[in-house]
Symmetry: C2
Subunit: 431 residues, 2 copies
């Protein structure tokens, strides 16, 4: 291991054997954490080329269980988001794409951060069960074209260990480590093709288009090496996606979107991501055709129907789909009013995310309990005209005490301009 | 700690508080090793400026016991070698400088590597005791002007922990870490001034003059910040120092040197290092005067007498000084003959060091037992003319089996030339 650290420190290329030895030793516990973390920091500075990254992805993938979805007919296309504030895309996309006849077998982790993950959010439905066995999961996809479940504990154990060390040693943000982490997880979940929603902006971990393109292109190349098609959609995360941030609040907005009444940015993102999924699944001949197909499924109620089918098939109460006011909602609310008049020129996703955590909607540690009813409902977004005293957002929390901290973040979130402002388009670039 | 790692990773300057927090957490065990090692690797790439390095030195120094030598009259000048093959300088220098009236209170660690350290070597004398208490140590210096003892276990605990991690994470070779490690140790041992023998060449960890100067200049600057005079003597370590490598073998050569019959390179190095020590102690007005003073003490037997006094005062058998053949010597010997005729153009200290370990003269781990009688006696050095079949070296070991591996390293150590070769001078530069 010393020689592997030294080699990477000196910028030399590691062999497949060396990378395998590293991952084997990591999982077996025979290489101590302090050597792994020194290696990660050396890698942070030196990087890995495509060949090394493909070997790393492969070794991490093979460190644990791999879900075999070959029983399911059709191309399994998975979607991954690099993480943003107010991102309820999966809740819309899964039934929408399934409604178009493409099987959606979605495994999802529980979230750490501003809100829970997709499976946390869907637990807003009474009875909805995400702890289903793999055979049951596969059977549900065969019957309903869609199922969602929590990630098996045995998937990519090497990634879990690496991530835990990266998280405490400031070595998260490295292209090769991010690529191998995402790709190994998606491949372990049985994906034939992968569409990645790469968030860019203050609410994401990627802050420049250059870095997003660089990371995205590496993912595409690593996908090629592993015989998987990969599409990268770089989308804006300078302000939250849609108007809701929080678990049940986001579910409500997703339901509205499935009813055809979604906010423009969320609808556009879902159509573009979904069209790419349909194209990879050979269901359509072009992205344009894909978007039209999906728009129809939203307009004619088929997507909403599929969503109800999904919720019901996993034990959830579908009366809550028709009556979203039955979904969890915090007992306390607070209206945050604009301190001044003008056009909103900034609405920081980063600060809104911090406010969301302060309200109890997110987990700080793995053991934190999420308040499903807490969160933020934005009334205005970038480019909107607002008058002093007019509501900018409504906050929800289990107790009044949360509002003071949350509003201190909101104070930092907004900027105003006397001149008209145009928000940047939601889709920045497709690779 | 995360923020400290991140700051260093991003090349920012750490504050005194941050460095203190790091060292306190390291010693208390509240910062896990995997964060320390990630920090060390970030530091390897980013370095530390003088201000940070002085804070680090100070924090490491204060992490444990500090020996108070203020009871001893005169300026306490310590000598440190960065480590080389056949380096028996301290055995000569300690009595030599003491004979000139400068108190020598020398604490020394046990060696890891090609041979033992100074105190290991001196244990070649029956009865010689290095485990003496600090008050006893100080009393001996007051009475005899010289004493040698093992390093107290409580000195610089932070350095011990840092070194153990650096050693297994490929982060030894960093200017700020080397400087703070050496300086904190010397200051903890009570040095008022420090003369550093910085070895340069294949048998040392520094391979270029540029790096030696860079490291040396930082040590001088950090010394200034801590009110200590520091002199840096850059000396050649492309071939072993003198003709002997091994513990008792080196003691024999040191005795010959104290009798005035030392090899040129060793004598010259001892005179230059010693003259710098005398100058710092205000015993002489110039280096030239210092060298002359010391040469006289070698020539007139005073230095040898002081050496006997040292050995006797710590319980050693001084009949072994007069009859060095009583010192340990391995039962097996092997003569390594020249494979060809010519001038020796290379005699790699690195390979000779490896051969020495193979013969049993060094420690591989802290728990290895040293064979005091094992080692190598060189018959020729760089620049010497040799005929094919003529002895190049005599090897000593406890069993025949060692010779095969040792000679395989010797095969790599030598190069020959048809043309005359001049060895590089022992003193390369003084800073």
């Amino acid at each position: 291991m010393f020689d592997i650290i030294k080699k990477k420190r000196d910028g030399l290329e590691l062999s497949q054997e060396e990378i395998q030895l590293l991952i084997d030793g990591l999982v077996a516990g025979t290489i101590p954490d302090y050597q792994i973390s020194a290696f990660l920091m050396a890698l942070y500075f030196r990087g890995m080329n495509d060949v090394e990254t493909a070997y790393l992805t492969s070794a991490v993938l093979q460190s644990g269980e791999q879900i075999d979805l070959s029983d399911i007919e059709g191309v399994i296309v998975d979607k991954h988001s690099t993480g943003g504030v107010g991102d309820k895309t999966t809740i819309v996309l899964a039934p929408l794409v399934a409604a178009a006849g493409v099987p959606v077998a979605k495994m999802s982790g529980r979230g750490l951060g501003h809100t829970g993950g997709t499976i946390d959010k869907l637990e807003s439905f009474d009875g909805f069960d995400v702890d289903i066995s793999i055979p049951d999961f596969i059977q549900k996809v065969k019957t309903h074209q869609v199922a969602l479940c929590g990630q098996s504990a045995n998937l990519v154990p090497a990634d879990k260990k690496l991530y835990a060390l990266r998280d405490v040693t400031a070595t998260i943000n490295n292209r090769a480590l991010i690529t191998s982490s995402i790709m190994s997880k998606k491949l372990a979940c049985g994906a034939d093709a992968i569409v990645i929603d790469m968030k860019l902006g203050n609410g994401a971990f990627i802050q420049t288009l250059e870095k997003a393109e660089d990371l995205g292109q590496m993912m595409i190349r690593i996908g090629q090496k592993m015989n998987r098609q990969v599409a990268i959609i770089i989308s804006a995360m300078d302000q939250p996606l849609g108007f809701s941030v929080g678990n049940a609040l986001e579910v409500k907005e997703a339901i509205e979107t499935l009813k055809g009444n979604g906010p423009d940015d969320l609808v556009e993102l879902c159509l573009v991501l979904g069209a790419n999924m349909l194209l990879f699944a050979n269901k359509v001949k072009s992205l344009e055709e894909g978007k039209e197909t999906l728009q129809q499924l939203l307009d004619n109620g088929t997507a909403l129907q599929k969503f109800k089918e999904l919720i019901q098939s996993q034990g959830g109460d579908i009366t809550m789909v028709d009556q979203p006011n039955l979904l969890p909602c915090s007992s306390h609310s607070y209206t945050y009013n604009s301190p001044q008049s003008g056009y909103i020129s900034q609405l920081s996703a980063f600060e809104i995310g911090r406010a969301s955590v302060a309200l109890g909607a997110g987990r700080i540690t793995k053991k934190s309990k999420i308040d499903l009813g807490a969160g933020i409902l934005l009334k205005k977004k970038i480019g909107d005209r607002v008058e002093a005293g007019e509501p900018l957002a409504i906050l929800y929390a289990a107790n009044q005490a949360c509002f003071e901290k949350a509003t201190s973040y909101l104070d930092l979130a907004y900027d105003f301009s006397d001149n008209k402002v145009t928000a940047s388009p939601i889709i920045i670039k497709t690779l």
